[in-house]
Each structure stands twice: as C-alpha cells, then as structure tokens.
Amino acid sequence: MTQTKTPGSSVHPAALMYAEEHRSGKLSRREFLTRSTALGVSSAAAWGLIGLQQPARAQDEPVEGGTLRMQMQTKALKDPRLSDWSQIANFYRGWLDYLVEYQNDGSIRGMLLESWEANEDATEFTLTVRQGVTWNSGDPFTAEDVARNITRWCDSTVEGNSMAGRMGTLVDRETGQAREGAVEVTGDHTVVLHLQDPDVAVVANMTDYPAAIVHSSYETGDPSEDPIGTGPYLPAENQVGVRQVLERNADHTWWGTKVYGGPYLDRIEYIDYGTDPAATLAAAESGEIDATYETTGDFVEIFDSIGWIPSEVVTAATITVRLNQNSAPYDRADVRRAVQMAVDNAVVLELGYNDRGEVAANHHVCPIHPEYADIGPAEHDPAGALALMEEAGEADHTFELISLDDAWQAATCDAVAAQMRDAGLNVERAVLPGSTFWNDWLTYPFSATEWNMRPLGVQVLALAYRSGEAWNETAYANPDFDAALARAMSVADAEARSEIMAEVEQILRDDGVVVQPFWRSLYRHHTEAVHDMEQHPTFEHHHYRWWMS
C-alpha cells in the first residue's frame, strides 16, 4: 500500500472519535470502516485505529490466465454518467477505472485516487491523485483528468445525468454546471473540492457505477467504440442482448498490478440469458456458464443443490412499495399510514424474499449504514389500519398495486396486497411485463421500486425523498424533511448525526411515504473453479480480483 499516513498523526479528528465510539461499542466495525474511510482514512489505517490488522484476503495463490463465462444481461452501453443499470457499468469497468471503490467490508478504498481528506465540517475535500497511472493510449493520468470528470458529472443540463444529483453541492443552480471554482486543481496530483454545503457523502458518491473515469478524447455515446481508459481489459465483442467480451489488454501496464495485484483472467465473457432465472439454471446445468450475476428467490437453494458455491452479502439493497403522493387517495398521510399499518414487514420478508434478509422499518435507513438510528420497528396493526382508513373515508376504495413481472418483486407485492386484504381493504394486483412496466413506472400511483444500496444512509434519502429530486417517484415533498436531511448531511460527528437521523427517519415514517419491508441479502453462485468472486453489495464486478483454477 502507498498509504503514508499513520494512525493518530494526520488522521481526520472525526475518525479518531469514531474509533473511540467503536471501542465503547456504539459503532459496529462495518459502520466504523465506512465512516472513517469516507473521510479519507485508508482502510489499513482504519483497521489500525481500532487495533486490528486488515484481514488478508486470498488464502490460495491466484493462477494467471483462463476464461470466465458469466451470466449477465448485456445492455447497450451509454455515456457512463447516464448509465442506469449496474450491468452497463460492469462491462465498461473492464477498461474504465473509478476514483474510489466500495469494499465488501463497508470501507472505501482509493483506486485512481491515492487518498483524500475532508476538513472539519466536510465542506472541503482534498483529493490526492495516484501517481504512475497511464491511459491505455499512453497519456499520463493527472489531476486535470480528475477535475474534468468531476466537472462532467456536474453538468445537470444533460438528460438523464444522475451524477449531477450526487455532486449537488458542487453544481451552480443557475447554470446547471459546476460552480466556478468548485473543482480546483492545485497541483499535478491534487484536486480540491469546495462544497457549497457540507456533504459527508461526496467521496462515497464517487463509488457509484456511473462515476467511471473517461479520457479527454471521449465526448459522449458508446464508450466501447474508442475504448481509451486506464483499466486492464479491452472490449473484444459487444453484441447487445447476446454477448459482451472483455480481453486482457496485453499492450498496457495496469497501475493496479503493483498496488492491489491482478488481473488474472485473460478473458471474461458475459452471456445474456434474459431475465428468467430458469434459463440461467439451464445454462448452468449445461456447463455454459461459470457464474451467475445474481441468484434470487428459490433459485438460491436450487443452485446450492447442484453443487455450485454460494456467495452471500448482507446489504442495504431493498424494495420500496411506494405510494405516489401526487395521486388521490395517496395524497393523504392517513391513507398512506393505514397502508403501512396493515402490513407486517416480517411476513413480507418471509413470503416475498424467502426470509433471506433483515426486516426493515419503513424509513429506508439500514442498520449497516453509519448514521443509522434505531427508532423501533414499524407499527403493525391491521385493525387500526382499517379504522384509520375508514376515518379517511377510503375504506371502500379499491387499491391497485402494480408490480414488475419479476419473481421476488411480484411476490413481495403479493404479500403486501394479501395483508392489506386481510386488514379488510380492497386490493387489486397488476403484474406487468418489463416492456410495459418501465414505460409508466414513475407515474403508477401504487407500485414498487427496487433500490440498490449506497454506502451512506443519507445518500439514498437525498436521491429518493428530497423534494423535486429526479429519482423521487413518491413525489414526497416535505420542507421539514429536507431541512433535517440537510442538517444531517453537514454533521461529521457520529452521535450528533445519528440524533438528527432519528428525526429524519421519524418524519419519513410518520408521513407514510413507503412500505419498505426488508433489506435484501444478495447471492451469487459460481463453480468450484472460480475464486475471489464474492457477490458485491452494489453488484460491482472487480474483475482484477477474479481468477480460475
């Protein structure tokens, strides 16, 4: 590791405080790691702060070479900042690197950034760019590249650019572009970010899949057409819906080999088997693939039974059965709360997701998030739900719950609908195929949205529930909530932030915004020959780690 800092010398003061909290049992190890690495402490140093050695990863010596075939939907590539599917990113991840990477243990580690540091109140971040990195075109990678990419992300005038929302504190609201002087290059390898408001999540946001770093010659469109990047692979084949193949770039020395080791595989083939897990199973039994992208529902057990190796990760990925507040009768909080009260989240977890996860409490902040505040389980009171609904005068209303025709999402909605019926409400279910569902899904009054996890709890809340946000399909707009969340995002201190989060969570739940029944565990299966291919909480594929025996 190239980390120069030693614990206790130049470490962010908040990280020292977190370490203290961890020792006194107020913070779990995972929370501690996410919080302190988000502030710029390296993961080795973070482990050191709590008196532990970072666990060594692979026991076996990795073998070079080999071809790995993996089931994955192969989607048409887009400008990275516009990407809306993890699958898209997992292909261009072969030749495009990221600034930072979210680890399975909850920490964030530097990739193209060597380190980063936040000031006291999280309004200024100093990013140190890794030295000795080159593009596969031969150009050196510098601070200018980092600044240019961050400025690209900030351009909110580009349709569908979701990075603009993540970089909100750098964007000038007037012009929709990066604020003058917000991204400052102070040396060949240093960039300083000046945030408008405090935002502890700015580096954590850079782990997200649209945040791939592109070359200065890239404008927009399919990045595989002229694949200049810093990564170790190159796209060899790109047949959307059929196959996408990555091949080791023999002419390029990847910076990561001497930092993190790898890559080991010569070739990675992504093969598309559609959305039906039965087709994936048939492919696995036919020996056409070595690993699945994700194994869901009953198929987890089936894959176990055919002798494949499971890999499980507990995450803050979830589904929200949400009510759109722009349409009656969901514009009234009583109606929404009655829906919440009718549903026992534990039952939904059992029926909808085979009990493979943790029960959630309708406020979309997960116990593994650093800022989680326990405000108790969600209230389950069917009789009360009916009473509340009668009071609101909507007891005779027929609710239509629309979901995607996808095994566990449909089952989850079925479980919610069944419990609402048990409580005495009229519920109809509509299960739509992807081709029709996605067209209008944002406008369905009562439907379900799948959410991937983000390292920090405030990140999802800011994306999903702030007034007027692009991804806010609940149409929730509550100035109190916005204000409380803004306060939470400015506080680096754990205890204080957690207290504010208790308030934020309570507002969100009292307003009955979503039925958020459970946190999903994610699964992947692979053959015995595949190694170091753990499922990742946000579905990221870290190709350089994978190897085959």
């Binding site: 569908g160 047949q239 059929v242 087709a279 048939a282 039994e285 996605w438 991804w471």
Partner: protein
C-alpha cells in the same frame, strides 16, 4: 407461368407494404415512442426530456412522412446543432455532419436503418439471426420431413392395422402438444437435475457457435415433433386414399408385390398432398421458432422478433416483418410451383 410468378411477387410487395405500414403505425403511437426514448436515455427521465429527445432524433415529424423516410421516398430527417450546423440526421451516421451525405436513405436505397436496442445495422442483425435460424430450420427439416413421411406411409399403407393405430396415436399426441409445453417438459426430463437424466443441454446458447448433439437436440426435437405429427397425419390420409384407388387394385391384381406397389405406384401420388403441407409448414416452423428460440435462449430470428417487439425497436421490427412476409409468400409460391410439377393435371396459366 411467368405472369403467375410476377403476380405473386407483386402480391408480396403489396403485402409487405401494407404490413410495414401497420407495424409502423403501431410502433409509432405516442406511448411506444415514449418507451423508445426511455430505453435510450434512462428510465427516470421527465416528460419534457422525452419530448426534446424525440424531436432531436427524428421522431418529431408526421408519421406518414417518417414512413416515407424509412421507405426512402422522403429525404431523411436532420436536426440542427446549437451553432447552426447539422447535429444529427437519419443519413448522417453517428458522428457530426459529413459532407456529401445522401438526402435519401431508406429501404429503396438499401438502408434498413439502425436498431435502437442492439445499436447495430438492422441488415446486419437480420442477416446474423437468419443464419442462426436457418441452421435450426435445416436440422428441423432434416429430422421432421423423413420422419413424418415414414410414419405417414407406414400407417397409411395398411389402414386400420395395429401399426396404423399406434403411429396415429403418437402423431396426434405430438401435434396436439404445443412447443411451449413440449419444450418445458423436455428440459425438465432430459436436461435438469430434477429428473436426473441430463442427457442434453437445456440451453442452446452454445449451439450458436458450435452446434453439437448435446446442445441442439432439444430445440430441434421440440419444433420437429410438433410439425411431424401433422405432416404424418396428412401423409397417412393421402396414402390411405391412394391405396384404395382403382389403379392400385389393378396393379395388385396384376401380381405386383406389396413392397413394389407402395414404393413404385402409390408413393408418388401420395406425396402430392404432404408436399404442399410441408411447404405451408415452414411459416409455422417460423412461428414455433419464436417460442423455442426464446425458451432455449438461441438468438436467431424468432428471438430477435421478440426482442424487437418487446423493446419497440421500430426499424428492426419493420425489417423483421418484411423478411417474414417474404418467407411466407415465397414458400407458398414454391409450394404452388411444386404442386404443378408433381401433379400434371394442374396447370398454371
């Protein structure tokens, strides 16, 4: 004869024109266009963004004009960039305006357009998928036709015998089982560890590159069995009818052996009806291909059709429709011509 063929080709053109117009109309309804925009720029975009994207990408004009653009009788759309130059256009390609780009670029000019889902030339995709389906169809015909004829002749030559009853039951059973049932049953029985036989592969994805007995048997059998029963029944009926006719009785009385009777006298006449049925079965196979290719994840013509339809990929869907019309009408034409050849009593003038 030539007039007959010319007439048929004209029908083909007219049918293709009408069908593409219908497909174009349906795929260009407002919600369908919205879906195209959303798959292109992301599922979470606003209506205003959809609108602006559609206008910038040539979906803004009146529907008939755009159909004309696709045909190549109207000049292709262009949209202006902020600096006044051309930003994009139907005939310009991905990059900025190239000097000397043609004004017209439609089917008449040999340009079938670009698929929005696969991001590739429609002609390339259709050629690729037709080649794959051709391979599948070839093996289906190789299994189905001889199989069906043998079963049909065997059961038809002695009507009412035990062989006839047995084979008839089998062929009715196979033709009464649709592909989506037999395919699933085959996968469960022969390919999964649920039953444990695992003789064949339940997925034909690897057959796209290298078809083997293991990975290609199930899809081929699934389609072939369905058609086989039907053709066998037709052959049996035709054979049974021929066997009762006067000239067969005469030949019999002359002392021709049963073997020679069937092979030399009965067979040719008995094959006229099945020939038509086989040719008409080809469009049906194409139909079965849609189900089987999706089920076995074999990315041929049927799979492409499903993907194009479910993603509202306008130009790909139009290309697929034209090819389908050609396949259906061409096989009918061949069937009519072959009928004349086999049956001298029929004349086409």
């Amino acid at each position: 004869m030539l007039r007959f063929i010319a007439g048929r080709l004209a029908t083909m053109l007219l049918t293709a024109l009408c069908l593409t117009l219908v497909v174009f109309f349906l795929t260009n309804l407002a919600p369908s266009l919205e879906r195209v925009a959303k798959t292109q720029i992301g599922a979470r975009v606003s209506d205003a963004e959809v609108e602006s994207w559609l206008n910038r990408n040539g979906y803004g004009g009146p529907m008939l004009a755009r159909y004309g653009e696709w045909l190549g009788v109207m000049p292709g759309w262009t949209s202006a960039a902020e600096d006044g130059g051309l930003a994009a256009g139907r005939c310009l390609g991905d990059t900025a305006a190239e000097a000397g780009a043609p004004r017209y670029c439609g089917v008449l000019q040999g340009d079938w357009g670009t698929s929005t889902v696969f991001r590739d030339e429609v002609a390339t995709i259709i050629a690729r998928s037709l080649a794959l389906t051709g391979k599948l169809m070839l093996w289906v015909l190789v299994v189905m036709v001889p199989g069906a004829l043998v079963i049909g002749v065997l059961s038809g030559m002695r009507e009412g015998s035990r062989t006839d009853r047995g084979l008839s039951t089998l062929s009715i059973l196979s033709t009464a089982t649709p592909e989506y049932v037999s395919g699933v049953v085959f996968i469960a029985v022969f390919a999964s560890s649920a039953v444990g036989l695992r003789w064949f592969n339940g997925s034909a994805t690897s057959a796209m590159e290298q078809a083997t007995f293991t990975n290609f048997t199930l899809p081929v059998m699934t389609i072939a069995l369905y058609g086989m029963g039907y053709i066998a029944r037709m052959t049996r009926a035709s054979m049974a009818e021929v066997m009762t006719s006067q000239y067969i009785r005469t030949a019999r009385l002359k002392g021709v052996s049963f073997r020679a009777l069937v092979l030399r006298h009965a067979l040719r006449n008995a094959l006229i009806a099945p020939f038509t049925v086989i040719m008409l079965q080809i469009p049906w196979i194409l139909n079965g291909v849609v189900i089987v290719e999706t089920l076995f994840n074999y990315k041929g013509f049927g799979w492409t059709l499903v993907q194009a339809a479910s993603n509202n990929d306008i130009e790909l869907l139009l290309g697929v429709s034209v090819v389908s019309v050609i396949v259906v009408l061409l096989t009918q034409l061949i069937s009519d011509l072959g009928y004349v050849y086999l049956n001298p009593r029929i004349r086409i003038s």
